[in-house]
Amino acid sequence: MALISAFDVLGPNMIGPSSSHTAGASSIAYLAWKMAGGNIKKVKFILYGSFAETYKGHGTDKALLGGILGFKTDDTRIRDSFAIAEERGVEFTFEINETETDIHPNTVDIFIETEEGRALDIRGESVGGGKCRIVRIDGVPVDFTGEYSAAIVVQKDMPGVIKHIASAVSDRDINIAFMRLFREGKHERAYTIVETDGTLPEDLKDAILENQYVEDVMIVQI
């Protein structure tokens, strides 16, 4: 069990009404916004389970859209996220999936297109108390929480890539909290997720990109 702080008891500071249906939802979308790393042009949300059943009364849709606009869970603009998205010219749609039930009850899929032309498909779960997990990126099962600063590396599964990533991180005197590899198959596309203590320096992304098998690096700064 993770250590429990006074601020896990009295917190999060959040826009209501529900830590799992509102705060957790905005956290997932906020992480997705950080991962996309650019201005969002178009976004589609697919809501499952309890999200699909009760999203209106819990403001889950406003929270998700707020997160994708870069609002944190305690940002009062979440209430007006629909109007703000329209002002900013962000296209958004919501869909409900009530047929897929073999899934965490508070699950959302987020399909993002950025102004810069990046497309990203993320699945997140709201796991209670405002906490969340990202469990899939572009169809590949992963697992990270966004509680630590993280580098998400998209790579080809080849020898030496992990060593290169670990060196790039340790050369910058960053302590790795967790490092995990998720892959589609041998020598296929893989994701390395490095969660670290403290913040990540700006030059880390370019350093990791130097390896020929690394396709992309997403930096999520906490």
Binding site: M1, L3, I4, S5, A6, F7, D8, V9, L10, G11, P12, N13, M14, I15, G16, P17, S18, S19, T22, A23, S50, E53, T54, K56, G57, H58, G59, K62, D74, T76, I78, R79, G128, G129, G130
Partner: protein
């Protein structure tokens, strides 16, 4: 310095002659490698949010998104201002403020989960009522919040604060136990008396189910925040009067957890039992579809 059980917390208080809030602050600094200034600043920020969310609806009704609540805090406040309160100012304010926070919460306003969003009114309601009625300065209230967080931490560590796991007794019950302990410390009680107050609340709210109408954190949740605040004050009053409790806090937490786990799933936040399936609530479900 760390503790995992109430008995260890009390031993630390005893051996160093500290209050529960002091022990909790030291634990926070030690375990999370931070400074007292930093954690106090964070708690002051939380307290400001708590105060704001307790106040606004007492003068201006806020309608919830689900449409089930709105305006209760103002009614209670007007009732008190008309000199008609049968509870007196402390309890009237505590319940009005605790209901106010739920109005803010359900209209997508800013609150502090304490320990959950659905139970976020209890602690601020009790703290703000005591502050106003007994002229308690903010820095003492911050101590009260650290005391409360120690009780909430013990519940998270050894039991649960999730309605889906343990029913409403785990949410409002724990919130009220936290508020009772904090109120006891603020009004001059000893650490042991704080735990008596917390034990008393858990006992008095034992078995309370979680049965939200339409599955929304509105009704009966808001009523139960008021009930939790009043329960907290009752328990603190008993402890401060010198009434002791034979069942220690660690045992009451375990007892609450055991009861919670044995509650049928219909009574754990699924909206499939209790108030949520009364004929009136069911009719409302159908009309909303």
């Amino acid at each position: 310095m760390d503790f995992k059980k109430a008995v260890e917390m009390l031993a630390l208080c005893d051996s160093k002659n500290l209050t529960i809030s002091q022990v909790m602050k030291q634990r926070e600094c030690h375990v999370f490698e931070t400074t007292e200034e930093e954690i106090i600043a964070r708690m002051e920020h939380a307290w400001q949010i708590m105060k704001d969310s307790s106040k606004e609806p007492t003068t201006k009704a806020m309608k919830s998104m689900g449409g089930l609540i709105g305006g209760e805090a103002k009614k209670l406040t007007d009732h008190r201002l008309d000199q008609k309160s049968i509870l007196g100012d402390v309890v009237n304010k505590a319940i009005a403020y605790s209901m106010a926070v739920l109005e803010v919460n359900t209209s997508m306003g800013l609150i502090v989960a304490s320990p959950t969003a659905g139970s976020a009114g209890v602690l601020p309601g009790v703290m703000l009522a005591l502050q106003e009625e007994y002229d308690i300065p903010d820095d003492r209230i911050i101590d009260g919040l650290f005391n409360a967080s120690a009780i909430g931490y013990l519940a998270m560590q050894n039991a649960t604060i999730a309605g889906a796991v343990g029913g409403c007794q785990a949410e409002i019950g724990v919130a009220a136990a936290m508020a009772a302990s904090a109120a006891t410390e603020l009004m001059g009680g000893t650490p042991l008396q704080c735990t008596y107050a917390a034990s008393t609340v858990l006992m008095n709210m034992l078995g309370l189910i979680c049965d939200p109408v339409l599955g929304l954190v509105e009704y009966p949740c808001q009523n139960r925040n008021a009930s939790g605040a009043a329960n907290a004050l009752i328990a603190a009053e008993m402890a401060l009067a010198g009434i002791t409790q034979m069942i220690p806090l660690d045992e009451m937490l375990e007892c609450m957890y055991n009861v919670g786990k044995r509650l049928p799933v219909e009574f754990r936040e699924t909206a499939k039992g209790g108030c949520a399936t009364t004929p009136t609530a069911c009719a409302l479900c159908k009309s909303k579809q």
